[in-house]
Structure formats: C-alpha cells, structure tokens
Amino acid sequence: MGLFGTFGFEEAGLYDEYEKLNPDITIKQDVIERNENYYPALLNHLTSNSGLADVQAVEVANIAEVVDTQADRFMDLGKAEGASEDAFLDWKWQQATADDGKTIGLGTDVGPMAVCYRKDHFEAAGLPTDREEVAKLWEGDWEKFLDAGRDFRKNGPEGVAWVDSADAVYDGAIASSEGKYYDESGEVIYKDSPDVEAAWGIASTAAEEKLTGNLEQFTKQWDQAMSNGDFATISCPAWMLGYIQEKGGTKAEGKWDVAQSPRPGNWGGSFLGVPESGAHKEEAAKLVAWLTAPEQQAKLFAERGNFPSAPPAYDMEAVRTATNPYFGDAPIGELFSAAAEEIPVQTIGPKDQVIDDNIGNGLQLIEQGKQDPDGAWDEAVKAVDNALDQ
C-alpha cells in the first residue's frame, strides 16, 4: 500500500484483522508524511508505470486531476467485489468517478466541518459558552460569525484573535457553498463565481478588520498560538480535533468545545485506488473494498477520529454515541454525522488546490497589511492565472 499522511489503518489494527481473515495475504505499507512530496512522486510513478504499490492513496484535492489524466492507469473499483456505491456518500463516490462511469478510488474519510472554540475566552467576552447557544450565534450565515467576532473584539481578552487565520475562514465559507472554482462543464469560473466572491468577501473583511490572528496554518507559529490560546475559534473538520488536542495539550485541557459551523461543508478526506500495473490487482481491490466498508470506517473513527464517508456507519454504535472528553464531552459522532449529511455537492476540478493556495496567499497579504482587499484579489488572480496557464 502506498499512502501519505495518516490513515491509521495499521494503528487501528485493521491490517492484522484482515490478515487473520485472509491468511494468504500480507500487507505492507509505504507512507510518505506530506502529500506535497507524495503526489508528484505518485504522478511520476503513474506516468512511467513503475514503482507503484498495489494500492495507492489520493487526496481529495488531487482526485479530480487523477480522474482527469490518469484514469486509464487505475482499475474500476465500482465493479470490485464487496464495493457498493450505495454505502458511500453520493458526492464522495462521484468525485472519484470519471465521465464514462469508471470509479478509480473508494472513499476513506471525509472532513465534515464544525467550529472549535475556547470556552474561557468566550466567557471572558460575555458570549455564551454552551455549544447549542454558540451554534445559534452564527447559524446559517458566515456574516453572523463575523458579527460575533466583532462583539468578541470589543469585550474579549486583550491579545486574543477571534479566529486563527483569514484563510481558514475562507476555507470554511467556500466549503459550505454550492459552487467552487469549476462549473459543471469543467470550465474554470472562479473569477466570476458568486460563491467565491462571497467567501472572499467574508474572509477579506475578517482580515481587514483584524479579526484574525494572522497565522498560517500548519506552521510552528500556529501550533504555539494554539497552545497558548491566542485565538478563540477555528474551523474544525473532524480530524482537526486530534490536532488541537495534541498541540493544546494539558495546558488547554477542558477549555475547548466544538459547535456546528455556520453552514456545513467538507474539508479534506481521501481515496484508495488500485493501479492497473500492480502485481496483485484482485487481492488489492478486495482489500480496498474491505477497508472502506462502513464497519471498518466506523472502527477507524472510534480509534483515530477519521470521519467515515459511508453513511451506514453513522448509525453504528461506535459512531453515534462517540463523545470527545477533551472537548467537554461533545457528542462528536452526532454532531459530525449531522454535518456530513448536509454537505453541499460541489463540482471539484483538477486545479482546486493551486487556486486555493493562491487565494490563501492573497488573504495573507491583507492580514499583513501589504494590500487592501481589492489589491489582494488582483494579486491572487494574477498568481492563479499564471499558475493555470500551460
């Protein structure tokens, strides 16, 4: 198996279990930590048909490009033994399916989003701390989220930002809208998309009004800010809880809670595919089908917090009743299941990641005071256009 990042199959004991069920199979995994290293290598291996593992993982940000350009290098898992389209969230299934109906990967996890918040800072600012009431503060509208932020800034503790970064606000807002960067025919429409404009508007306002902490996610600085409680809220896909717990540590124990996000959306998640050139294609396809079946996804959630992409899992005991003690015993199973089923079906495109990164850069320019929102948008457009032009 060729993987990147964390899937946690091994840690959750799933390999051992499968090997026990199928004594003639041994599973080895080959993991590269960062997708930005993994993905170009995967492309190299695919295009030269060598060096591939029997199973290869693909991140959601890259799946459209792989479907577009490498579909003939992968097996059709839609017909694999034990794989059932009905078991998956429809949009998740479609993301890995080409126009001709070939499904090149089965979904592992998804990232339904909530908002994590610091109860202590909310209390200090005179905001509610109960997760239901907090969710009501901003229910249905990201503008309300900003309003709450303005209140927070007026009455909240000194030196604490409302939200970690403008980019994260943008990611939350765009994930919860109907459209993204491509229309259904596959044309890039980000410049004229009302959804992008709205999400940009909210995020750039947050940046301009200095509601954000001017932090870049997944950097040391961000980790430290998390540990020291320098921001009050953060967009929280299911897997982010583990991150906060790890970085916040005992210092922040009992201070965090999690509430529904203004509007549900998806951030992250992956797929497993089986390359055509593999030596054990049939066995690999069976393994993938088994690993992504609802039962195993539920186990993985219970063990590792990766949220299932298979709705039948949501009714299972392990998911339904899951709570998280670090977040004040929040009923995360229920909360994320509700969010997952409301996630809008978006058209994704091959260059989503590139567009996303450059828009994020634009928002940082505002946070750092180098550009006003209009100037920053122009910069972002310039960079995106340059990146897309072949």
Partner: protein
Amino acid sequence: MTQTGTAVDAPPSAEGGAVPKRPATEDRRQKWRSRRYRWDAKLSPYAFISPFFLFFAAFGLFPLLYTAWASLHRVELTAPTDMEWAGLHNYTRLFEDHFFWNSLWVTFTLAVLSTVPQLLMAMGLAHLLNYKMRAASFFRVAMLAPYATSVAAATLVFAMLYGRDYGLINWFFGLFGVDEIDWKSGDWTSKIAISTIVIWRWTGYNTLIYLAAMQAVPHDLYESAALDGASRWKQFRYVTIPSLRPTILFTVVVSTIGSVQLFGEPLLFEEGAGASGGPDHQFQTLGLYLYEQGWRNLHLGRAAAIAWVMFLILVVIGIVFGLISRRLRKS
C-alpha cells in the same frame, strides 16, 4: 591555471637507433619502452578523465537534452511524453512574467547577502583553525555540524528562532526595546533571515575547504616572511591569500552556482509557504519558481525553460569570472 607542468612528452632518447652500437634486443626493448612511455603520456590524461565523462554521458546528458527539448513544448507532469510544440513561447513569455523577474531579483539579492559574508567568515575561521591548538579536530568537526544537520531539524529550529510571537530572536531584540519583527512576511527581513540560514549551513563547509588548502602552503614561505619582519596580518595578506587563489576562485564559483540555484533554504524557511516563497513571493528564488511551475503547477515545459535560463545566466557569470581572473593574473 595555465600551468603546463608535466606532460613531459617522451624524453628525446629513442629516436630510432640513434645509438647503433647497442645490442639489438636491448635496443628493441628500449624502443618498446619508450613507445609505451609515449602512449602512456598521451593517453593517460584521457583515461583519467573518462570515468567522469562516461558517467555524465550515461546519467547527465539525457536529462539535459530532454529538458532542452521539453522547454520547446507545452508538456505537463501528468503526461511527460505527451508534448505539443510551442517553439520559443516558454522563453519569450518570461519577459512579461512578473513572477520570473521577481524571482530573478530575489535570487540576486540573496546571492549577494549570503555569499559575501559566508566566504569572508570562512576565510577568517580557516585562518584561526590553522593555528596550533588544543582540540583542533573537535573545532573542525563542529564547524561541519550545520552541513550534517538534517533538513527537518534545521527547519524546525530556524522556524522557532525567527518566530514572530515567540521567536528567540525577537525575544532578544525585545530586551533592547525593539518591537516584534515579522521576519517571514517582511520583504527584506525574510531575505536577511534566509541568508543567515545559508550562511549558517555553508560557512563551515567553506572553512574546511580553505583550511585544507592552507595546510598545503609551504611553511618556509611564512618563515621567510617572518624573518623579513612581516606581521601576522601581512603574512596572511601576502602569503596565505595568494597561495589560496585557486581555492578561492573555486569557492567563489561554487557558491555563486549554489546561490543562483538556491532552493532548499527558502523552500523550508516557512513550512506553510511551500514553493510560493511567501504570500508576496518575497523570497521566491529562481529555483523555487522552477519547482513551483514544475512540481506544483505541473507545467514541465515552462519549468524546463526556466531551468535553461538559469543555466544560461550561470554560463554568463562563468564567463565574467573567467575574464576577471584572467585580468587579475595579468596584473
């Protein structure tokens, strides 16, 4: 550089029976020996350099030619054999490419900011290390520690040092009442910070190279200089430096090439920035821009063109160096 040492074409002994009185067998042996000798002198240079060129032809030439070919095409990493002829478009577009000019400027400033102090410091340190002292090998090895430190570790440490809110450097400046500096987002501050990483990584390396060369300088030169009453500084200036000239030229060329290709340090400087060199591309070098085009945006043809432009820039720099060193030698 123009030394034409040995080469010694065969000594003028055996010009076919110049000494007729000698017995025939010995004469033949002599002849055979001298012929072997001549062939040896003529062919051995090529034998000595051939491994390099053979391996280069096997593993270096194909990539080079492929890159040249690819730069004339529209070709994506998702299908590297699928090329569409584009002529010089990938080159001409660079003239209007704001990001290219930016990266050129960044590369130039970073090269100056890092190379000059690095080599000066290395020379000074090598001079000190050349003294007789205790724990000499400890110091030498310690100088090389940055070069041996893993990239992951170095990144984490420098990210920590240059942190905006909790960085040690800002804490230190704070003691003198300096405000928090946002090292990574500033235009010049980020460049200065990155050059310190480069300097940190490569000074010890150059020190060792200088040291190895200094130790080959004959000691009697110093002794006679000392007898003439030359001070330590004068000995350094008039004995050490001239003796080291080939090595200095070497380090200048290598560091210049290295700084034009500068890649690892700016890539790792800020974990989140990836290949963009910061939101304003304020530390995106040519190497980084090439990488972004090829490996992030997946445009192999465009990246190949940038690679060739880098190559040409280096060739021009090389010619300038060559002219300068020829001038210096004459004067």
